[in-house]
């Protein structure tokens, strides 16, 4: 079969699957869930096929990177249909962030900056939802802003989801009094710097065009000194590094971070130096935070996929090293 034909076949299969799931969703069908037996059979088949790849590698037949892609795809997709649950261990940095929010008194003002866009939403949106939910549960006042143009839109999506919860409806939360979305402001790190002297100069109106002075929640919020806690959801620049360097180092803001997994390692330096109160790193950090908030969101749901994907990557690293050592031995034999 030619490469073109293989590509067409793969795309056709994916489209058919998508159509089936879409039609089910439109018709209000429930999600598909394998039985435990089927799930174990699938895992067994995957393990066996990996062993087969290992045997092929030992025999000197290296697999192409497309095979790796297929395995990663399967490892990410199939666990979504498996009935297994996992115990989520809580890391100290996530607990520290949760504790710092717990210590805030009801009525405290929390500033959340949405510095990400849709590509990183799968990782950061669950964090946003659980953090906002925790704030509302603890009667904290939420002020939202964004240094990325799409940030406030992501915030609206998170708010919509949290506010649609029955528990939240009872609280009768009012826009402008309990939460406010100030929208996006261009200027990258300069926005943070100018917020140090005046929020209003950067956000003369909110997302809906209401004047800053007309919003009871922020009317008396002049600058960072009137904010009790700040949480930054970041996927790059401008983001966490700028918040630490300007808001924390210059204005002494209490800051917690929610980062993509790629970005999180860099932030540990700030955590150990006491510049931030805690980090939610990637999907895993989001799942840990959801566990602490006693809320099962998307991050918890996707952790099984992440576990499988990590195992697959480890399996392929082992296979790659087997190939490397065998190749090295052969070349050594040739030399001798």
């Amino acid at each position: 079969m030619s490469t073109k034909a293989k590509e067409i076949l793969a795309i056709t299969i994916i489209v058919i699957f998508c159509l089936i799931f879409y039609i089910r969703k439109v018709n209000g069908g429930e999600g598909i869930l394998f039985s435990s037996l089927v799930a174990w059979l699938v895992i067994g088949a995957m393990v066996l096929s990996l062993v087969w790849i290992l045997i092929l590698t030992i025999r000197g037949r290296l697999i192409s990177r497309r095979v790796v892609f297929i395995y990663v795809g399967i490892a990410l997709a199939l666990p979504l249909f498996m009935p297994f649950t996992q115990r989520i261990p809580i890391s100290p940095e996530v607990r520290a962030l949760y504790n710092s929010v717990e210590t805030l008194k009801p009525g405290s003002k929390v500033l959340i900056s949405f510095d990400f866009d849709p590509p990183s939403a799968p990782e950061l949106q669950p964090m946003a939802e659980s953090f906002i939910r925790l704030c509302f549960e603890r009667d904290l006042k939420v002020i939202i802003m964004g240094l990325w143009p799409q940030g406030p839109q992501q915030a609206n999506m998170a708010l919509e989801k949290v506010l649609s919860d029955e528990k939240m409806k009872v609280k009768n939360l009012q826009y402008g009094e309990d939460y406010v979305n100030l929208g996006f402001q261009t200027g990258n790190e300069f926005v943070i710097q100018r917020m140090g002297s005046s929020f209003e100069s950067m956000f003369p109106t909110d997302y809906r065009g209401t004047a800053y002075d007309s919003l009871p929640l922020v009317r008396n919020v002049k600058n960072f000194s009137n904010i009790d806690y700040s949480f930054n959801l970041s996927a790059g620049f401008p983001g966490s590094v700028e918040w630490v360097q300007i808001a924390v180092d210059r204005y002494g803001v209490q800051l917690g971070l929610g980062n993509t997994a790629v970005q999180a390692p860099q932030m540990y330096t700030y955590l150990n130096a006491g510049q931030i109160t805690g980090i939610l790193g990637g999907m895993n950090g989001g799942a840990e935070f959801e566990f602490l908030c006693k809320y099962k969101g998307k991050a918890t749901k996707f952790m099984l996929s992440q576990s499988f994907a990590h195992m697959i990557v480890i399996a392929f690293i082992i296979i790659g090293n087997v190939a490397f050592f065998l190749g090295g031995r052969k070349s050594a034999l040739k030399k001798s």
């Binding site: 990177r65 790796v68 892609f69 395995y71 990663v72 795809g73 990410l76 996992q86 115990r87 989520i88 261990p89 890391s91 100290p92 940095e93 849709p118 590509p119 939403a121 799968p122 406030p152 839109q153 609206n156 919509e160 261009t186 200027g187 300069f190 926005v191 710097q193 100018r194 002297s197 100069s201 997302y207 065009g209 997994a261 790629v262 390692p265 860099q266 540990y268 330096t269 955590l271 150990n272 990637g282 895993n284 799942a287 952790m303 992440q306 576990s307 499988f308 994907a309 990590h310 195992m311 697959i312 990557v313 480890i314 392929f316 690293i317 296979i319 790659g320 090293n321 490397f324 050592f325």
Partner: protein, 216 residues
């Protein structure tokens, strides 16, 4: 003069910015505000130049039927679709329920998310190809990667559940992230910080001028 004027502006603004960090009094306190305003204004005007450049290149490709001109046609069509719909919605174009919002939710989000998702596949293929126990240091890295990859997901604790509390894979991963990893990051960041100071000084003093088309 074509080079001298930019150099003078760079020098004055650079020194001014350093001073305003230490002197909170006016007029220095207003400097960062002025320059951030100027940067936003110049940036906003420059976006038009970028968009025009993209349109010009794509249109030329389509008109001259250059190789792969079909892709250029997709660029023009997408650009016009977003711009026209965005403008037709007025200043409320981002409000939920608008046509622009529909495009954002059902076209932009899935397309962008797909690109980011490719990273997962590339991480796997790059690890498969490049992560080798070539020598002692590489082996050390490989072992650390194993612990972190397993420890950062719940399955790590399932596999190391027999170990006492505090010695499981998740604890090991936390230790690696908090100490060796953090120390390495700091070393790189200190070097980067000093590099930035040094390059900034070169630019402010006008020694480095390649970026304005000068140099030796």
């Amino acid at each position: 003069m074509r080079r001298e004027i930019p150099l003078i502006i760079t020098g004055i603004v650079g020194v001014g910015f350093v001073i305003q960090y230490f002197i909170p009094h006016a007029p220095f306190s207003y400097m960062s505000d002025w320059f951030s305003d100027w940067f936003s204004i110049v940036g906003a005007c420059a976006i038009v130049l970028g968009a025009l450049n993209l349109m010009k290149m794509s249109a030329q490709k389509v008109i001259r039927k250059k190789k792969d001109w079909g892709y250029a046609l997709v660029i023009i069509a997408s650009f016009l679709l977003i711009v026209i719909i965005g403008l037709s919605e007025g200043k409320d174009f981002r409000v939920p329920g608008t046509r622009f919002d529909w495009l954002y939710n059902y076209m932009y989000i899935p397309l962008s998310a797909t690109m980011f998702a490719i990273l997962a596949f590339f991480v796997a293929s790059a690890s498969y190809r490049a992560f080798r126990a070539r020598n002692f240091e590489a082996t050390l890295l490989l072992v650390a990667a194993f612990f972190v990859m397993l420890g950062r997901v719940p399955v790590g604790d399932v596999l190391s559940g027999f170990m006492p509390e505090g010695w499981r894979l998740s604890d090991l991963a936390s230790w690696v992230m908090n100490y060796p990893q953090s120390a390495g990051q700091r070393a790189i960041m200190i070097g980067i910080g000093l590099g930035i100071v040094s390059t900034s000084l070169r630019v402010i003093l006008g020694i480095e001028r390649s970026h304005i088309g000068g140099g030796k």
